[in-house]
C-alpha cells in the first residue's frame, strides 16, 4: 500500500496510469450522465408542491455536494503536501480549484433559478447561501494567490495553508441549515435517518451525483497531467514522451 502511494507520487507513473484510466472513467461518466438526465427530466415525477421545477434538484444538489467534496480533496492534498512534500499534491490542488469553483458556481446559479419560483427571490443572505458564496471566494482566493506567487515552492505552501484554513467553512456549510434558521431546507439525503425522498427521485439524483463525481475525476486528471508536463518539462521522462 505504502509502496503504491509512493509510486503514485512519482510523476511519470502518475502520468501513465491516469492516461490509461481516463477513457474508462470518461465513458462511465457519459453513461451515468445520460441515465441521470433521462431519469431526472423524463422518468421522475413532478413534485406535488413544486411541479416540474423540482427537476433542478438533479443538478443543484449533486453540484453542491461536489463543491464541498472537491474542497475536502484539496484540504487533504494540502495536508499531505505540507507534511510529506509530495509534488503531486500541489498539482492536484491546482488542478482541482477551477473545477471546484465551477461546481460552486453551478450550485449557486441553479439554486438562484430554483429560489425565484419557489421562494419568490433570487437571493437571500441566509447562512447556507452565504457560506456557499464564501466557498466560491475561497476557490478564487486560492487561484489568485497561487498564480500571484512566482516561486513555486512558496506558492504551494501558501496555497496549502489557505486551503486548510478555509476548510472550517465546509462543516459550516453542511450544518448551516441546522445551526441557523434558514430559508434553505434541511438535508434530505445525507443524514443518519432514512432519506426523505422517494426512490423515483433518489435514483436519478444519485446517478447525476455519480456522473458529476466522475466528471471531476476525469477533469482533474486531465488538468493535472498538463500541469505535470509544464513543471517537469526539463526532466528526462517528459523529453522522452514528446520526442
Amino acid at each position: 500500500m505504502w509502496v503504491w502511494f509512493h509510486k503514485l507520487g512519482s510523476p511519470p507513473y502518475f502520468y501513465r496510469l491516469s492516461g490509461r484510466l481516463m477513457p474508462w472513467l470518461g465513458w462511465s461518466c457519459a453513461l451515468l450522465l445520460i441515465a441521470g438526465l433521462i431519469g431526472g427530466l423524463i422518468l421522475s415525477p413532478p413534485d406535488y408542491q413544486q411541479g416540474d421545477s423540482v427537476r433542478i434538484i438533479y443538478i443543484h444538489v449533486p453540484s453542491a455536494w461536489m463543491s464541498m467534496f472537491i474542497y475536502m480533496v484539496m484540504a487533504v492534498a494540502a495536508a499531505i503536501g505540507l507534511i510529506w512534500r509530495i509534488k503531486i499534491s500541489d498539482v492536484m490542488i491546482t488542478a482541482s480549484a477551477p473545477i471546484g469553483a465551477s461546481f460552486t458556481f453551478i450550485a449557486l446559479v441553479t439554486g438562484s433559478l430554483w429560489g425565484k419560483p419557489m421562494w419568490g427571490t433570487w437571493w437571500v443572505w441566509d447562512a447556507r447561501l452565504t457560506s456557499e458564496l464564501i466557498l466560491l471566494f475561497l476557490y478564487f482566493g486560492y487561484m489568485a494567490l497561487h498564480t500571484a506567487i512566482e516561486d513555486p515552492r512558496i506558492a504551494a505552501k501558501a496555497g496549502a495553508i489557505l486551503v486548510l484554513v478555509g476548510a472550517v467553512n465546509i462543516p459550516i456549510i453542511h450544518y448551516s441549515v441546522e445551526w441557523w434558521s434558514t430559508l434553505h431546507q434541511g438535508a434530505t439525503v445525507a443524514k443518519f435517518d432514512k432519506p426523505s425522498i422517494h426512490l423515483s427521485m433518489l435514483i436519478p439524483l444519485l446517478l447525476m451525483a455519480g456522473a458529476f463525481k466522475l466528471f471531476y475525476v476525469v477533469n482533474v486528471l486531465k488538468r493535472a497531467r498538463c500541469e505535470l508536463l509544464v513543471r517537469e518539462r526539463r526532466s528526462a521522462w517528459v523529453r522522452e514522451l514528446v520526442s
Binding site: 427530466l41 413532478p46 416540474d52 443538478i59 441553479t110 433559478l113 477533469n219 486531465k222 520526442s243
Partner: protein, 60 residues
C-alpha cells in the same frame, strides 16, 4: 406532439429548469474543452522545444 410541448414547457417552469440545465451544460463544456486545448498547445510546444534542443546539440 403534445407530449414534446409539455416536456419543453416543464409545467410553466421552462425558463428556470432549462436555464439551470443550460448553464450547467455550458460550464461543464468549458471545463472539458479548455484543458483539451491547453494540452494540445502544450504538447506541440514541448515537441518543438525538444526538436530545437536536438538541433543545437542539447546545450540549451
Amino acid at each position: 406532439m403534445n407530449g414534446l410541448n409539455d416536456f419543453l414547457n416543464m409545467g410553466g417552469y421552462a425558463f428556470y429548469v432549462w436555464g439551470s440545465y443550460g448553464i450547467t451544460l455550458l460550464v461543464l463544456a468549458v471545463n472539458l474543452v479548455v484543458p483539451m486545448i491547453n494540452e494540445r498547445k502544450l504538447l506541440n510546444d514541448l515537441a518543438r522545444r525538444a526538436r530545437a534542443d536536438r538541433h543545437s546539440g542539447g546545450n540549451l
